[in-house]
Each structure stands twice: as structure tokens, then as C-alpha cells.
């Protein structure tokens, strides 16, 4: 047993981080939020989407013979964690899961959206929509980088998730489903990848809070020297590291119940860490200019993806036998 990342996994993690820092650094993030094309609905950066495809972000789990990278769920989780850190926008999970079944998804040529609940992300930007989006109504989304539509009565699209079983994580068999739809296994994989994004956000807001607490001075010293602030930051790390163990463990086992637990803890870590990060930033944290609100709003958005807290808790309770 060695739960830690292998050298290859570390290299992958660093590679994705560097790629995103170079192609979607802070300036690009703020341009996406504030620049031309941000209002009323943000536009998807097609060139970036292609680059992600070229880098193997979408085809990560596809077998090499199908043009993929041939890696597994743990590697996909590491890549999505980096996406969460960087606040990378777009229907990343839907497109990743469609690689191998929807032509062009793996290469980033085709942008894919999924209807797997009442709220659908990036519907207008998508070239291909999985599920039935009939009757979709635009929502004034709280997250400036996640356009939303509401599809009445779409919760049933997901297929039944019984709370038992293991998803294999092989790209060849996930993503497939009748008539361009998707099965319960896809919903479980989507939950895991969402949890990974939340984990990335939780880690990023912890770092941001710590950096600010080291630099910001009041009463003649860094606010990070005050225990009241230290303890907020320490709890942020505890949440992040607990969520990390849960998400990585779920990626290794692929167990549907464990994935529900990972989503629950990662949602909690992302949302509460963003809140605490905002608090540590004081008045600055309440401004549009600081990035904290972007993390909080995205964390709220991802927390609503299946399974939301109530759904995860029920699944986890039912599994107690």
C-alpha cells in the first residue's frame, strides 16, 4: 500500500498546473469575467478548448488505440483538481465523459453539455447536448463564468443510482448509453470529477487565505499572527486534506457510495473554505475585484450538481448496512 502520488502522477499534476497557469492565468480569468464577451453570458474560449483537447484533458481515460491517453480515474481526478484550482470555465465534465462516444469531444473540437438535473451548464455554447433539453429556460446565473439553464422535470434523466456498485473508470465503457444519453455510471463519474474540482478550489482558497494573512498587517503585525485568524486557516487545511483523502480514495476504489461521500466532503470543503477565505480577506473579500467570490460562486454551482448534499447524505445512509 502506498496511497501517495506516484512520480508519474506528480508529473501529470505539475504538467496540468503549468498548462493552466500559462493558458488560463489570473489575467485570463479576469478577462473572462470582466472583458468584452463576458456580458450578458460569458463566451467559451474555443481555442483554449482545443488546446485542452490537444493536451489530453478530455481523452485522458480513453484507451491509446482510440486516440486517448490511456490513464485512469486517479489521473483524471488530478487533472480536474487543477481545473478547479484555476477556476477553468466550461462544461469540462460533460465533454470529458463524452470523449469516445461523441465525435470530436476528445480533441476539444466538439463542446458537449449534459442534461442530468434541473440545471444545465453551458447549454448555448454546446455543439452537442446529451439528454433532453427541451423547454430549457435561461437562468441569471450567480456564477459569472457558468451560464445556466433550467430544464423543468429533468432530474429523471440521470438514470437510477442505487448507491451500490463500482465504476471502472475506463473511458471505453463509460459515456456510452442508449440514444446519445448516458447511464448511472456516468452520473457517478461526473460526481467524482466534480468533487475533484471542488478539492482544487478548496486548496486554492486555503493558499490564498494564508498568503493574505501573511501579508496583510493590522495593529502593527501580520493578521496571520493572530490565533483567531490562524485557526480559520488551520480549519481550511483540515477540510482540504480530509476531502483530498476522500476524493483520492474514491478515485482508487471507484465505489459509488465512496464517491458520494467524496462529493459531500469536497462540496463542504470548497464552499466553507471560500467563505473563510472571504472572511480572512476582510473588506477586500467582499469586492468584485478579489477572486474569492468567483471560487465561492463556482463552489455553490458545483455543490448543486448531483448528488447535492441531501442526495449524497441519503445515499450514504442507505448504504449503512
Amino acid at each position: 500500500m502506498d496511497f501517495r502520488l506516484t512520480d508519474d502522477q506528480r508529473a501529470l499534476q505539475e504538467g496540468v498546473r503549468k498548462l493552466l497557469e500559462g493558458r488560463f492565468g489570473r489575467e485570463r480569468l479576469r478577462a473572462a469575467v470582466d472583458g468584452p464577451g463576458a456580458e450578458p453570458v460569458p463566451s467559451l474560449d474555443r481555442a483554449l478548448w482545443r488546446e485542452l483537447g490537444d493536451a489530453g484533458f478530455f481523452g485522458l481515460r480513453l484507451p491509446e488505440r482510440d486516440g486517448g491517453v490511456g490513464l485512469g480515474l486517479p489521473e483524471a481526478v488530478l487533472a480536474f483538481e487543477e481545473a478547479g484550482r484555476a477556476l477553468l470555465p466550461g462544461p469540462l465534465v460533460a465533454t470529458h465523459l463524452a470523449a469516445g462516444t461523441v465525435p470530436g469531444a476528445a480533441t476539444g473540437k466538439t463542446v458537449v453539455a449534459r442534461v442530468d438535473g434541473e440545471l444545465v451548464e453551458w447549454l448555448d455554447a454546446a455543439d452537442h447536448v446529451l439528454g433532453n433539453a427541451a423547454g430549457a429556460v435561461p437562468v441569471r446565473s450567480v456564477d459569472p463564468l457558468t451560464p445556466l439553464h433550467r430544464v423543468p422535470g429533468a432530474a429523471g434523466e440521470r438514470g437510477a443510482v442505487t448507491g451500490s456498485g463500482v465504476v471502472t473508470g475506463s473511458g471505453a465503457e463509460s459515456g456510452s448509453g442508449a440514444a446519445g444519453g448516458f447511464g448511472a455510471a456516468d452520473a457517478v463519474l461526473a460526481a467524482l470529477l466534480t468533487a475533484a474540482e471542488q478539492l482544487g478550489s478548496a486548496g486554492r482558497t486555503t493558499e490564498a487565505a494564508v498568503r493574505y494573512a501573511r501579508e496583510r498587517e493590522q495593529f502593527g503585525r501580520p493578521i496571520g499572527s493572530f490565533q483567531a485568524v490562524k485557526h480559520l486557516c488551520a480549519q481550511m487545511l483540515v477540510r482540504t486534506e480530509t476531502a483530498r483523502a476522500a476524493v483520492y480514495g474514491a478515485a482508487v476504489t471507484g465505489d459509488a457510495v465512496e464517491i458520494a461521500g467524496a462529493k459531500l466532503l469536497a462540496d463542504d470543503a470548497a464552499v466553507r473554505n471560500a467563505r473563510d477565505c472571504l472572511q480572512v480577506h476582510g473588506g477586500m473579500g467582499f469586492t468584485w475585484e478579489a477572486d474569492v467570490h468567483l471560487h465561492l460562486k463556482r463552489a455553490w454551482t458545483r455543490a448543486e450538481r448531483w448528488p447535492a448534499e441531501r442526495e449524497a447524505a441519503e445515499l450514504l445512509a442507505a448504504a449503512l448496512r
Binding site: 500500500m1 502522477q9 442507505a318
Partner: protein
């Protein structure tokens, strides 16, 4: 990210399982928790069985009489013994997990051969004399004084929270051998001594906890003579010697407890389904959240053990993260048990009621949550020192 065990580790697990299955049915009934001599006899008899079967001091180095097991093997041992319902380490705790490893790491050859074999065989019990009434979280401010007089130290002071003091043969004692001054910070004047509990001048008084039990004791030391040969490490170097001790837990201190908590959680769900509380959505979802929590704590344990294994057995700061989360989760577990029990939560006849009371110590003992957060903030996050 590999959670599978090697063939060798699986063989170890299988052998252990077979031994537990053959051994446990032959154990005598557990003694009453208030019967201290009975508890000592039970715990030491179990230790002797482990010794005879080759499981004593599993994670101790081979040259200390142990088996030099890897943290993963130790994890398997703790997991399997808990799953099988084997006795706990009990009164052997301090000897096996604190005092023994310290002597193994810092003691002379004579000290090692005198004290280590009896710990492994279950012949001698140790207790821990660290905390004092005025030195809890701020342990380095301890005031129990030791003055050198010929070939002995003369020790005067008092200790508190000393588990198993009533039945212990030895106490790993921290004493002040150099007064604190402007030039000498508290932790620079501390010495580690092995105190024989039958020495004249030692008085033990049981301390009743809010759970009604006497798990702890106060210890009063009135001019107790301790041979200088019982000093482990150099004079005034006891703080460092003690920190070596603490690092021997290797992040595995709570392995058995996490396994036990997961079993309790399943029992809670079963009880709730039986008594109708399951229909209460809030109770049901609280149980579901605890399922996520304790699964994650198990994964966090595996994470910490993996890190310790790579670092040659020395645990990282992951221990503080784990302890903060676990101590809180354990209290949540028993608060939820109370919701499942309903009015029954006031009945001490339920184990969960007494366990709920005991759980209150978890955010205090072995470093309060507040101290743990300071450790995380200062050592892991690198925030500036302050108060």
C-alpha cells in the same frame, strides 16, 4: 495512489486472522472497568499471548526486541485485531507506545535490556507523568523539581492525568532540573526519568472523570529519590527525548478507534431502523454524513501511514490534521447516537451514553484542538508566530 496490499502483507494478514480466530475464544471474560488489578491482569495476559505468538512490539525496531514491521503491517495489525474484537492495548499503552520506544531510541544498552523485555512480555506496566495541574497545553512550563543528591535525584511536585497509575510499576517522568530564567526557556531544563512507582514518597490518588470512572490519577511526589542511572538521555535534554517518544505513534494511534467507530455507525443505523428514528430525515442524513466522514478518516489514516512509510517511520504533520477532524467526528458520532436513542440517551445502561461522555475528552487530551490548530497554522501553513 495504491491501496492494495503486497502479497507479503496479505500473508501477514491471513496468519494474524488465523491466530486471532484460534486465540480469542480462549480468553477469560473481560474484567469490570472498576477492577483495576483485574484489568491489569487481563491486559498483561493478552500482551503475553501476543509476545508468545510473535506479535509483541511489532513496530519496534528489531534491536529493541521488536519485529521492525512497516507502518502498513502495523496498520493491518491494528485493523485486524479491532475487527476481530481482540482486547485493546489497555494498561500496556504507555509502555508500548511511549516509554518503550523512547528507551529504545535514547536509552543505554543497560537501560534497554532492563526495561524493554518486561514491557514486551507484559511483565511490567508503565504510566506517564507529564502533565501537571499548572502545565497542560503549556507542558514546557512544568514545575516538578528534581535536585541532584549524590547518585540520585530528589523529586518533589505533582502530576495529573496519569493513566493506569494505580497499577503501574514505572512512570516515565518529566522533571525540571534547571530553573527557568531569562536565558533558559522552559523546555531547556527538563529531564526524563524512570520512576519506580513503589518508591517512598509516591502517592497516587484516583481522579474521577465526568464519565464517573477513574481512568486517570493524580500523583504526588514528596522528596522521592530516583537513581541517576534511571535518567534516559542527558540532563536537561528531556524535552527532545520526549518529542522522540511522541513521534513513535506514526499516525497509527487511532487506527483501531476508526475501525470501531465505523462499526458503531452501522450499529446506530440498525438501531435507528429498528426504533423508527430512521424515518426522521435529519437523523438519517446525519448518519449518512458520518458515513462519509469515517470513510474519509480511514483514507486519511492510509494516507498518513503511506507518508510515514516513505519517511522511514517518522510521521508528518498529517497527525494534527487527522486528530482535529477525528476528535470532532467522534463527538458527532455519539451526539448522533443520542438522537437515535432518544430519551434512552439519558440511560447510563446504554454503552453509547457512557461512550458519549468519554468522547468529550477527545478534543482536549493529547493536545487540545486549539493547540492542534496552532501547530497546523505554524508548522504546516507557515503563519507567523504570535498569540
Amino acid at each position: 495512489m495504491d491501496l492494495t496490499c503486497t502479497e507479503e502483507e496479505e500473508e501477514f494478514r491471513a496468519r494474524l486472522r488465523a491466530w486471532l480466530a484460534a486465540t480469542l475464544p480462549g480468553l477469560p471474560p473481560r474484567p469490570d472497568p472498576r477492577d483495576w488489578p483485574g484489568r491489569r491482569a487481563y491486559d498483561t495476559a493478552w500482551q503475553r499471548r501476543l509476545y508468545d505468538a510473535g506479535y509483541a512490539g511489532l513496530h519496534w525496531p528489531a534491536d529493541a526486541g521488536g519485529h521492525g514491521a512497516t507502518p502498513t503491517q502495523h496498520l493491518i495489525f491494528l485493523e485486524e485485531t479491532e475487527l476481530a474484537g481482540a482486547p485493546y492495548v489497555g494498561a500496556n499503552f504507555v509502555g508500548l507506545l511511549h516509554a518503550g520506544p523512547t528507551i529504545a531510541a535514547e536509552g543505554t544498552l543497560a537501560q534497554r535490556s532492563r526495561w524493554l523485555p518486561p514491557i514486551l512480555r507484559g511483565d511490567e506496566i508503565w504510566c506517564q507523568g507529564f502533565s501537571e495541574p499548572d502545565a497542560g497545553s503549556d507542558l514546557a512550563s512544568l514545575r516538578t523539581r528534581a535536585v541532584r543528591d549524590g547518585d540520585a535525584y530528589v523529586v518533589t511536585g505533582s502530576k495529573i492525568w496519569t493513566s493506569h497509575a494505580e497499577v503501574a510499576d514505572w512512570c516515565e517522568l518529566l522533571v525540571r532540573t534547571r530553573p527557568v530564567s531569562a536565558d533558559v526557556p522552559g523546555h531547556r531544563g527538563i529531564t526524563w526519568l524512570a520512576l519506580p512507582m513503589n518508591a517512598p514518597g509516591v502517592t497516587v490518588r484516583p481522579l474521577r472523570t465526568l464519565a464517573g470512572t477513574t481512568e486517570f490519577a493524580e500523583m504526588f511526589l514528596d522528596e522521592v529519590r530516583v537513581p541517576a542511572a534511571h535518567r534516559v538521555g542527558e540532563e536537561n535534554d528531556g524535552w527532545r527525548v520526549t518529542m522522540v517518544t511522541l513521534s513513535f505513534e506514526r499516525g497509527t494511534a487511532f487506527v483501531g478507534e476508526v475501525v470501531a467507530c465505523r462499526r458503531t455507525l452501522r450499529a446506530l443505523a440498525e438501531a435507528a431502523r429498528g426504533n423508527g428514528r430512521w424515518d426522521d430525515q435529519e437523523v438519517r442524513r446525519a448518519l449518512g454524513r458520518l458515513n462519509a466522514e469515517f470513510t474519509a478518516l480511514w483514507r486519511l489514516t492510509q494516507w498518513n501511514v503511506s507518508e510515514a512509510q516513505r519517511a522511514g517511520g517518522v510521521p508528518g504533520n498529517g497527525g494534527s490534521v487527522f486528530k482535529l477532524r477525528y476528535s470532532h467526528a467522534r463527538q458527532e458520532l455519539y451526539d448522533t447516537a443520542a438522537r437515535v436513542l432518544g430519551p434512552g440517551c439519558l440511560d447510563l445502561a446504554h454503552d453509547w451514553t457512557t461512550d458519549r461522555l468519554s468522547s468529550l475528552s477527545y478534543t482536549i487530551a493529547a493536545g487540545t484542538s486549539q493547540i492542534q490548530r496552532n501547530i497546523v497554522a505554524d508548522r504546516v501553513l507557515g503563519l507567523p508566530k504570535g498569540r
